[in-house]
């Protein structure tokens, strides 16, 4: 299949796509081809133009120039509904499913073929049949809310299959999945390829690309930086194509150094969704928390930061009991927090870069003095942080919603690290960032650790956790399934813990 694809005529031909936002050229004359039975990896740093290109394809954005040919017919001025009808399916990072409904009901939603009077039984039979053929292992009557994330994603894939999509676009499909689920997904993708579907696989993760893709197209600053067959390529080559320089793993940390005094002490802490937890993090130490999302991570970090009340137990920061303290009081004691929810919690997207940089510090110099905002010194500070943390925006008054995801996250990182925190809680801090930006964030955290901060690093990316932690804990069902120093990590054991089995 891999080599035979050359002779088949293209399923999708995008030619000379140009899309500008103001003076920014997000897509600059991009060509993209997908053949039937091909998995095309679409790589690129944050803000390199991948999302824009896919939005143009799916009819969510109009291109300023260029043409699209799909299954031999031109596609122009189309809406997402028309793109779907033509046979293009987009599977977003955030699933478009109704939690309270069953798999069958979600499949019927907005699908004309389900009938004016819904034929639930027929649809359920088709769900079962397709699920078997592609190895999706889905029960038509299962409620979405009760399915793990990996299964929910398969519901999205199933919807695409039943709607007879010929081209599937998967936008970072593995970022929320546990390792075993990732492997299952890749198997499903191979089956789709065997059925002659075309697939665009958008990702930052190079090992997955090497494993499943036939060809890759790499975008950099809105242009095609390279295209290559995957056979014979190495991870290093791909990374270099992506960012124009070699990115190795983050700086190795020196675990031999003895940690200092306890900075964060948690004793028997429990809350709804959180089993009693006891642990401590010392000065100069990073405790990494791995585990599949939805196992109590958000409950843990929000209880520690004061956004949720604790039901029982104690939290001490630098020796002070803060179990009942407000968010602001904990911040004053030196607690920094990078939330996983960037869109509504960590940032106010309708506000400017400068306003987001001062979000949690508006009463302190240089942003404010007493009851007044000192705007000139605040803007100067914002400019300095933008330079320091490589936040690429035209000026401090630029609206955050118009920045790429990576640049948005850098604002959060800059704001939380610049305060020189004693304790940092970082939740999915590198989520959705490209390798260059991820490395930048991890390096900054290691530097903070070396200066003596205590860090709780919560992520569903096991590799990230292993890369920077002094100790690794695994969360399952609201508690720590286990906790080990990094030199003693046994991958098989970690896998069992992640699956929720006791040590």
């Amino acid at each position: 299949m891999r080599n035979g694809a050359e002779s088949v005529s293209a399923l999708l031909e995008m030619r000379g796509i140009v899309r500008r936002f103001g003076d920014l050229c997000a897509n600059d004359n991009i060509d993209l081809d997908v053949r039937p039975g091909e998995i095309l990896g679409l790589l690129g740093e944050n803000g390199s133009g991948k999302s824009t290109l896919m939005k143009v394809l799916f009819g969510m954005l109009t291109p300023d120039a260029g043409s699209i040919n799909f299954r031999g017919r031109p596609l122009a001025g189309h809406t997402p509904a028309e793109a779907m009808a033509a046979g293009i399916a987009m599977i977003h990072q955030h699933f478009m499913l109704i939690d309270a409904m069953t798999v069958t009901e979600n499949v019927m939603l907005g699908w004309p073929a389900a009938g004016r009077v819904l034929r639930a039984k027929d649809v359920a039979a088709r769900v079962r049949e397709a699920s078997q053929r592609f190895g999706l292992d889905l029960d038509p009557d299962a409620q979405i809310a009760k399915l793990p994330l990996g299964r929910r994603q398969r519901v999205e894939i199933l919807k695409a299959i039943l709607r007879e999509a010929e081209l599937l676009i998967l936008d970072e499909p593995t970022s929320n999945l546990a390792p075993a689920e990732v492997a299952d997904l890749l198997t499903i993708l191979r089956r789709l390829r065997a059925e002659n579907k075309g697939i665009v696989f958008i990702t930052h993760k190079l090992p997955e690309v090497l494993e499943v893709c036939d060809n890759v197209v790499v975008l950099r600053t809105g242009r095609v930086a390279g295209r290559a067959p995957v056979a014979g390529a190495s991870q290093g080559q791909l990374a270099e194509m992506m960012i124009g320089r070699d990115v190795s793993t983050p700086r190795k940390i020196d675990t031999a150094r003895p940690p200092g005094e306890p900075r964060l002490e948690v004793l028997g802490l429990s809350a709804p969704g959180l089993a009693p937890l006891t642990f401590e993090i010392r000065s100069g130490e990073i405790l990494g928390v791995a585990g599949v999302d939805g196992n109590g991570q958000i409950e843990l970090v929000e209880t520690l930061t004061g956004l949720r009340p604790a039901r029982a137990g104690q939290i001490a920061l630098k020796g002070c009991d803060v179990t009942r303290s407000t968010v602001a009081a904990r911040m004053r004691l030196g607690l920094a927090y990078m939330p996983a929810d960037r869109a509504y919690t960590a940032l106010v997207k309708t506000m400017s870069v400068a306003e987001n940089l001062m979000l949690r510090d508006s009463r302190r110099p240089p942003y404010g003095r007493g009851p007044i905002l000192t705007r000139a010194s605040g803007a100067a500070k914002a400019r300095a942080l933008m330079a320091d943390y490589d936040i690429r925006a035209r000026d401090p008054n630029f609206i955050v919603a118009r920045l790429s995801g990576g640049n948005q996250q850098k604002i959060v990182v800059a704001r939380e690290l610049d305060r020189g925190p004693a304790v940092l809680i970082a939740h999915q801090a590198a989520w959705g960032l490209d390798p260059g930006a991820t490395r930048f964030v991890l390096d900054r955290m290691i530097a903070l650790r070396d200066e003596g901060a205590a860090i709780l690093y919560v992520s569903s990316e096991l590799e990230e956790v292993l890369a920077i932690s002094d100790r690794v804990a695994v969360m399952a069902r609201g508690g720590f399934a286990g906790i080990v120093p990094r030199p003693d990590v046994d991958m098989r054991q970690i896998g069992l813990w992640m699956a929720g089995r006791a040590a």
């Binding site: 602001a328 979000l359 949690r360």
Partner: protein
């Protein structure tokens, strides 16, 4: 080429879109007047003359705009913080009663002191009334729209009760207080038939603009209005922000009531502020919840209303048509400011 055409069709700035909305509502108004069998241009001319044709008319228009502006700025402040305060109507009424009560108590004091005391009394009463709504909202988790809206009716009845009892003028045959002591009357502006209320209102608008854009409190309010989650994360106390915005809005509405009592009627009359509070909400939305932009919005409504009476007198177009024009303007402006996602 494509881009150039787009720019002409959609004025990009907010101000441009609002101007376009105003233009559209004027066109609709003209069509309505023509339908009723009158000459739109003559009607507009009558409105203009009636609104600003003489010093007397200008004064009347400014007086009319004043309560809308003072209370509207407070409403805008609340809306910016995500607190939907529909209680200006009641807060103005209670503020008027508070100002009247204070003025009667200070009848012996020299003019400046008596005026300041009475206006403060009005502001305090308005803030207290807003405080009742806030306590119900935060304490019992009743939605703020319900708490503020329902207290309006209670406020009107309370003022009625006061006029039937301690504040009433015995034997007047109408629910009203005795005339306020002369020392508490707001002076006339030289050259205009207006009290200085409008100046107070503009200062209030400027102060609110400053608070909103130049203080950490205003910043916190804007964050809370955009995302409650982000505000909690930033360490702002939502309860404290709600108290701050509501008390400020209540004080402003109370001040509006006080100015109306001391500057226009010189006594407390039942129903003196009927509809003012709801008009204040209109004006706040018309001004896109930007305190300084509420100034022209309030002027627009005030001029239109005082001109409409002249139009009715002079050419017989019913002044109720102006209410229709106000409604249309409101709709067009909302569409213009909200439509773009």
């Amino acid at each position: 080429m494509l881009q150039a055409r787009r720019v002409r069709l959609k004025p990009s700035g907010l101000a441009g879109r609002i101007l376009l909305a105003l233009l559209l509502s004027v066109i609709c108004a003209a069509a309505l007047i023509a339908l009723s069998g009158h000459d739109p241009l003559a009607a507009f001319a009558a409105i203009a003359r009636g609104a600003a044709g003489s010093e007397h008319q200008i004064g009347a228009s400014l007086n009319r705009s004043t309560p809308y502006l003072v209370a509207g700025v407070g409403v805008a402040l609340c809306f910016r913080g995500g607190v939907i305060n529909i209680g200006a109507e009641g807060q103005i009424a209670v503020g008027g009663a508070g100002a009247a009560a204070t003025a009667l108590a200070f009848s012996a004091a020299p003019a400046p002191i008596a005026i300041v005391a009475a206006l403060l009394g009005g502001a305090l009463a308005g803030a207290a009334w807003a405080g009742v709504a806030t306590a119900i909202h935060l304490g019992r988790r009743v939605h703020e729209v319900l708490a503020t809206l329902l207290l309006n009716f209670v406020a009107l009845l309370l003022v009625q009760q006061l006029l039937a009892g301690p504040l009433g003028q015995f034997g007047a045959g109408f629910l009203q207080s005795p005339l306020m002591p002369r020392s508490t009357w707001l002076p006339r502006l030289p050259g205009f038939d207006a009290h200085p209320g409008f100046l107070i209102a503009v200062v209030a608008a400027a102060a609110c603009s400053f608070v909103l854009w130049r203080t950490p409190f205003g910043f916190a309010l804007r964050v809370a209005g955009s995302s409650r989650l982000a505000a909690a994360y930033a360490g702002f106390s939502l309860a404290r922000l709600t108290w701050g915005a509501m008390l400020a809005a209540g004080a402003l509405a109370g001040l509006a009531g006080g100015i109306e009592v001391l500057g226009v009627h010189r006594r407390l009359i039942e129903g003196f502020s009927l509809g003012f509070g709801f008009k204040a909400v209109t004006v706040a939305l018309l001004g896109a919840m930007e305190p300084l932009a509420v100034v022209p919005a309030a002027l627009f409504v005030g001029l239109l209303e005082s001109g409409s009476l002249a139009m009715q007198r002079q050419i017989g177009v019913p002044s109720a048509l102006v209410t229709v024009i106000e409604g249309l303007t409101m709709l067009f402006v909302l569409v213009a400011t909200v439509a773009r996602k």
